[in-house]
């Protein structure tokens, strides 16, 4: 997990909540960057409150824990980090299971990217299933390929708000989308 993370990830005081408020602000910013960086590099869409990738097996290690220097962030400080992540819109809390989506791009940026794909690949005005969009061959190489489907829904909702998409639901679950 420590691969490609900034050097400060190996600095022991990073793991203790610093008493000086100015410093703590910068420390929280560093943690937000680390989490985003990690999620982006590993293409992890969703992380548990404890810092492990949500969808993988149980052996994945928490980003808040560094075995090389034997340090880990205390749960009270982890809460503060998530608070900062939400506040700066780098994470989105998932109500159903208290995990977090990590937004290395903002929702607006993602929906813009998706819209762009619809436009450039000539998929306007036709129904595209969520599965095609996320897992289909045609989005291979797109940054949003493989995105968590719940997160994808949130992006498509943004497009609907802008009047650019209509969603097809089955039993309250989004199955497909038509972009105009």
């Amino acid at each position: 997990m420590t691969t490609n993370l900034p050097a400060i990830y190996s600095f022991p005081p990073l793991y203790t909540c610093q008493p000086n408020a100015l410093i703590r602000e910068q420390q929280l910013t560093v943690w937000c960057e680390i989490i985003v960086e990690f999620a982006k590099k590993e293409r992890v869409w969703c992380i548990t409150a404890e810092g492990t990738p949500a969808k993988d097996g149980g052996d994945k290690q928490s980003v808040f824990r560094n075995d090389v220097i034997q340090r880990s962030v205390k749960s009270t400080f982890i809460e503060e980090i998530w608070h900062k992540m939400i506040e700066t819109e780098k994470a989105l809390r998932i109500d159903s299971d208290s995990n977090y989506f990590i937004l290395w791009r903002s929702l607006d940026s993602w929906s813009a990217l998706i819209l762009q794909w619809f436009e450039s690949s000539g998929k306007l005005n036709q129904v595209i299933t969520l599965y095609e969009l996320i897992e289909g061959d045609e989005t291979l190489g797109c940054e949003f390929h493989g995105m968590d489907s719940m997160l994808m829904e949130k992006c498509l909702l943004r497009l609907r708000e802008r009047g650019r998409a209509s969603l097809l639901k089955d039993q309250n679950k989004v199955m497909g989308v038509k972009v105009v």
Binding site: P12, P13, Y15, T16, Q18, P19, I23, R71
Partner: protein, 180 residues
């Protein structure tokens, strides 16, 4: 040891016509006591810094057995008179906005610099190591009371970062984060 080396100097309240004269005399005695007790430190480090509470205990225990102790109020008033009596090497200063100390020169900056130097040479040093290193040339030049206050100041001001482990608090110099 100190008790025997002091002469039978009787600064007895009852011998003085008024309180003010008594306080003046105590001021001189306390001043001489500190200057001689911390002579070695003054010669080696160039400065003296000790909390008023520790002065109270040391002075009474070494100098006042048999002559009646001075009260906390009397000691404070005596130290406040140093300047007026022309006792210029020591002044009363407040550390961290709360702890009164008897100090010579810019003792606070001096010991702060000394601590920062030790910590940058030994990243992760704890209170025990710091105390040992600070007092390596003599047994108790810098009291723990002073060292803890200065450390607290360094942490509050952001000069030092803490790494809180179950083994204790370890200190690191702050190189990464801006503090103003």
């Amino acid at each position: 040891k100190t008790a025997t080396k002091s002469p039978f100097l009787v600064v007895d309240r009852e011998k003085f016509l008024n309180k003010s004269l008594f306080i003046d005399e105590i001021a001189r005695e306390v001043y001489d006591f500190i200057m001689s007790e911390f002579k070695e430190q003054k010669e080696r480090e160039g400065v003296i810094l000790i909390t008023l509470v520790d002065v109270y205990a040391l002075y009474n225990k070494s100098m006042r057995i048999g002559t009646g102790l001075v009260s906390p109020q009397e000691l404070r008033e005596a130290c406040e008179k140093f300047e007026k009596l022309g006792l210029r090497d020591l002044t009363l200063k407040k550390l961290n906005n709360r702890v009164l100390c008897v100090s010579s020169g810019d003792s606070f900056d001096f010991i702060k610099g000394k601590i920062l130097k030790i910590v940058s040479a030994v990243p992760g040093a704890d209170l025990l190591q710091l105390t040992q290193k600070l007092n390596s040339s003599s047994s108790n030049a810098w009291t723990v009371g002073i060292i803890m206050e200065v450390l607290q100041n360094c942490v509050n001001e952001g000069n030092l970062l803490i790494d809180e482990q179950i083994s204790g608090i370890h200190y690191y110099v702050n190189c990464d984060w801006k503090i103003n």
